[in-house]
């Protein structure tokens, strides 16, 4: 996973570059929470452009970061959803809660 913090608008962007499953998700979660706590962003964006695989572990990951960012006063959005990722997010209903954005 790559990340970039934009100081001006307090935006933290995570670009996930791994497959997202139960095995990989722990590492992503730890890193994301660490950086959210460190930068206290106003907005967090997860970029799915380079995600070649995701299963239900991705739903828990995004809901969990959404709650964590919220708790620290920030918002969370997702971007560049691939067909597979979109299908899974739509099925879970989380897109009613979390906006899809362009980056």
């Amino acid at each position: 996973m790559e990340s970039k913090f934009y100081e001006d608008n307090k935006l933290l962007v995570f670009k996930i570059t791994d497959e997202i499953d139960d095995c990989s998700v722990q590492k992503i979660r730890r890193r994301a929470d660490y950086e959210i706590e460190r930068y206290m962003p106003k907005k967090v964006i997860f970029d799915f452009n380079s995600v070649t695989f995701m299963d239900s572990a991705g739903i828990g990951l995004i809901i969990g970061r959404y709650k964590f960012a919220n708790m620290l006063g920030g918002k969370l959005e997702v971007a560049n959803l691939t067909q597979n990722v979109k299908k899974i997010f739509e099925m879970s209903g989380i897109l009613k809660l979390i906006p899809v954005t362009q980056i």
Binding site: D55, N84, M91
Partner: protein, 159 residues
């Protein structure tokens, strides 16, 4: 027309999270004999990943165990059975409901069975408490001619 030959494979591996990607990639490679689209292949990978992950975190609860996969190709269908000898499921109907999870503290969403059911054509779950669980997933891969026909219809309706 290409002849569809019947084929079968069996896989047995340790219940470890690092084997999740091994399992789904292996089944996908086997399924590719049916000439699936990228999307159909992604559906199969996701469903297998859900079933295998359930064995690891629910059936064996991250303890030692063995997971078995049996896959068969029949005409243009793939039939995948994923089984464990873990703790079993008390009430399968409840477990299959969307958002039902016994491990919410691990950021599970309770969507595994729902995803398997909708990404495959059919799903059967058999379980005995204390003995284990067997999930059977079936998907029909559309024949090339049918896909081309569908594409034609789509392009016609667009004109």
């Amino acid at each position: 027309m290409k002849e569809r030959i019947e084929n079968e494979m069996k896989l047995e591996f340790a219940s470890k999270a690092t084997n999740e990607s091994f399992a789904r990639i292996t089944v996908a490679a086997f399924a590719s004999q049916l000439d699936p689209t990228i999307e159909e292949l992604a559906d199969i990978k996701t469903a297998v990943s859900e079933a295998v992950t359930n064995c690891i975190i629910h059936a064996y609860e991250n303890k030692q165990g063995t997971i078995k996969i049996n896959a068969q190709l029949k005409e243009n269908q793939i039939i995948i059975q994923i089984s464990d000898n873990g703790k079993g499921i008390e009430n399968v109907d409840i477990a299959k409901e969307p958002l039902y999870t016994t491990k919410p503290n691990l950021e599970r969403s309770g969507m595994g069975f729902t995803i398997m059911e909708s990404f495959m054509d059919s799903m059967k779950v058999e379980s005995i408490v204390g003995l284990g669980t067997k999930v059977t997933l079936i998907k029909t891969i559309k024949k090339q001619e049918e896909k081309e026909k569908e594409d034609e219809i789509v392009s016609l309706t667009k004109e």
